[in-house]
């Protein structure tokens, strides 16, 4: 199969501790960037400058950043609602994201889609549909292609606890298990699906399903970015070794409402307080401070970058109304997603 990518995979394995100091700093930086971008988006939303509705992943940064950081350039990612950090790790810029929120022509979605519905194909990222669990199926399909072509690549799909109830989730996981596809399934156990508590989504911890599908299951503290990195890295090794999918259950907490319109009064205040104390940024910041890293400088740089991006995004033009009906169909041979040429991932570049 001559047209297929041959670069970018399998290498990137290091001996010894995988995460060296620059990696650990990067992990923090991406989390800080996610939080700053999302906070800025939220304030723009509250100012009435962001159309539609608004969602963020506050409190869940460690899961999406840590997991995505463990991927290789040629791997593909399907982020979900809470995973802006995944886009950032892959290289999508704060400017492109903020312009996306604002519905500007220069945003990732070119004004066609908004809020968390984004993904840059050139970075191996598939923008989510709204229909929860759709992307788990698509990720399985990508993994199938990798397996069929014998490529050392995997695909990773994020999803919430609520998404596990959708039939598509089951069809994808069952198929991936049968075919032992190189697929990493990251379940974000954040306690709620909109207003519905997890206990109303599954009667048993969903990790039990790993056993029922005959795949590897791995619980992890979803607020510890290094722990998430490590289980994902191992899942990736299994995937590439032909051992099939891994279901990673990352325990975390949705610290905001489902969206900006949702005051989440159905979430007990004590629960939030408990999780506030487990803030993933604070945890990683603590580690870095102990190692003598100037975290305040990172924070300042992040704040500056995001402020500048917001300025630039607001200055961008709206999409041209005449473009609204263009591009429903592709006109030419498509460029496959994620050819692996660019070293966008912080770790396995």
């Amino acid at each position: 199969m001559s047209t297929l990518p041959t670069t970018g995979a399998a290498e990137g394995t290091r001996e010894g501790p995988y995460l060296e100091l620059p990696d650990r700093v990067s992990l923090y930086r991406f989390m800080a960037l996610q939080r700053a971008v999302e906070e800025r988006g939220l304030s723009l939303y509250k100012q009435g400058r962001v159309p539609g509705s608004y969602y963020d992943g506050r409190g869940q940064e460690a899961t999406c950043v840590g997991a995505t950081y463990a991927l290789n350039a040629a791997d593909t990612v399907c982020p979900l609602i809470r995973d802006m950090g995944a886009h950032l790790v892959r290289g999508t810029t704060p400017l492109a994201i903020l312009a996306h929120y604002l519905g500007r022509a220069g945003g990732v979605g070119r004004g066609r889609d908004g809020n968390v519905h984004l993904g840059e194909a050139s970075r191996g990222v598939v923008g989510m549909t709204s229909m929860l669990a759709d992307m788990v199926v698509v990720a399985a399909g990508m993994a199938l292609a990798f397996k069929l072509r014998g490529e050392p690549r995997c695909s990773l799909a994020f999803f919430g606890d609520g998404a596990t109830s959708v039939g598509d989730w089951h069809e994808a996981v069952n198929f991936a298990a049968i075919e032992r596809l190189p697929l990493i399934l990251v379940l974000e156990l954040n306690g709620y699906a909109y207003s519905t508590p997890s206990a109303a989504q599954f009667p048993v911890h969903p990790l039990a399903r790993a056993t029922a599908y005959g795949i590897h299951g791995e619980p992890v503290d979803g607020n510890d970015v290094e722990a998430v990195f490590e289980v994902t890295r191992q899942a990736r090794e299994r995937a590439l070794a032909g051992e099939g999918p891994t279901l990673i259950a990352a325990k975390t907490m949705r610290m905001h409402g489902h969206g900006a319109h949702d005051d989440a009064r159905y979430v007990p205040a004590e629960l939030l307080a408990k999780w506030e104390a487990r803030d993933p940024l604070a945890r990683q910041r603590g580690r870095l401070v102990e190692l003598g890293v100037d975290v305040a400088a990172i924070d300042a740089a992040v704040a500056e970058e995001v402020a500048a991006a917001a300025q630039a995004a607001l200055a961008m033009p709206a999409p041209d109304a005449a473009s609204a009906t263009v591009g429903v169909y592709a006109a030419s041979e498509p460029t496959p997603l994620g050819r692996g040429e660019a070293p966008w991932s912080g770790f396995c570049s």
């Binding site: 979605g109 066609r112 889609d113 519905h117 229909m131 609520g162 959708v166 519905t196 999409p319 609204a324």
Partner: protein, 320 residues
């Protein structure tokens, strides 16, 4: 009482839950949350978790579960959180609910509420007007109120109907439209309504486009333009449509749905077959082109039928 379109639907639900203990609600986040749009707000408190059931995110289960409950004597009302998600419960609607009576002489009196429509920067996944899919599938009824009074009346009529009824409630009208709504239960017939009379031309539409068309007609001077609000798409009030076409001789049809194979196409074809001799000009359609609904207001406005586009179509046809 004066209610918004949204309040009218809530009131209809409350009425139904009070009047008939076979009625219960099934949907995602309809309990504590009161639904994504607060249509069911307060109902959990009044009726309890056995009549306002929060389900897992399982649209096939919501619809098929409702069918199961209905065939043993209940009257479930399902909510899709957005009309768009109905694609996830599609099989149970078209293959189970729609074909049940023809095949098995079993009836499935369920109502499926679809918060639909664009104009709120919902983007490709929160702006759908999917009614044509269900019009093409046999055995389903489909209604689409444009006013607060009809919203409640059609909901209660849908519930009284022994068949599965898809209830298209337009998100854009929820808080924008308000009107006098009778207290207590009443049923609006599944028939078209003449919103305003006229005999030079008739605009045929339904849902949110009734308001856009009314605004377009307001802006014309002099012409006598009739406005027909279909209200029910299945059954389709063919008599009212044909009478209007014959009396006005010129027809503009407006769909907020995507153009191809929308109900507007069906209405046009009906007129072209059965009222051809009375036509004094082409049958003009105004619809959303075949494109996913874009998010940015500039783009969304460019695809949804606007007051201007409707007015232009009317003006051009009047001049024909």
């Amino acid at each position: 009482m004066q209610l918004t379109y949204l309040e009218a639907i809530s009131d209809g639900l409350r009425c139904a839950l009070r009047e008939d203990d076979r009625v219960f609600l099934l949907g995602e986040d309809i309990g504590v949350m009161g639904g994504a749009f607060k249509v069911t707000a307060g109902l959990l408190d009044e009726f309890g978790p056995e009549r306002v059931i929060d389900t897992p995110i399982s649209e096939e289960m919501i619809v098929g579960g409702a069918v199961g409950a209905a065939i043993v004597g209940m009257r479930p009302i399902c909510e899709m959180q957005f009309a768009d998600f109905v694609a996830c419960g599609f099989d149970q609607i078209v293959n189970v609910a729609g074909k049940l009576h023809y095949r098995l002489e079993l009836a499935a009196p369920i109502v499926i509420r679809l918060p639909c429509g664009g104009g709120v920067s919902g983007g490709p996944y929160h702006s759908a007007n999917p009614e044509a899919w269900f019009l093409h599938a046999p055995g389903l009824k489909v209604v689409a109120p444009s006013t607060a009074e009809d919203a409640k009346g059609l909901l209660l009529a849908a519930l009284a109907d022994p068949n599965p009824v898809i209830f298209m409630e337009h998100k854009g009208l929820y808080r924008r439209v308000r009107g006098e709504v009778p207290e207590g239960p009443y049923e609006t017939p599944f028939e078209a309504r003449t919103v305003r009379d006229g005999d030079d031309l008739v605009v045929i539409t339904y849902g949110a486009m009734v308001h856009a068309a009314a605004a377009a007609i307001e802006q014309l001077d002099g012409a006598s333009v009739r406005l027909l609000d279909l209200r029910s798409l299945e059954p389709l009030d063919e008599e009212a449509i044909l009478a209007a076409a014959r009396e006005c001789s010129k027809v503009v049809i407006v769909d907020e749905a995507n153009y191809t194979c929308a109900i507007g196409a069906q209405v046009s074809a009906l007129i072209a077959e059965r009222a051809f001799e009375d036509l004094d000009g082409p049958i003009i359609r105004v619809a959303t082109p075949d494109v996913p609904i874009p998010f940015a207001p500039e783009l969304e406005r460019a695809v949804l039928p606007s007051v201007e586009r409707i007015r232009a179509a009317i003006t051009e046809l009047l001049a024909y």
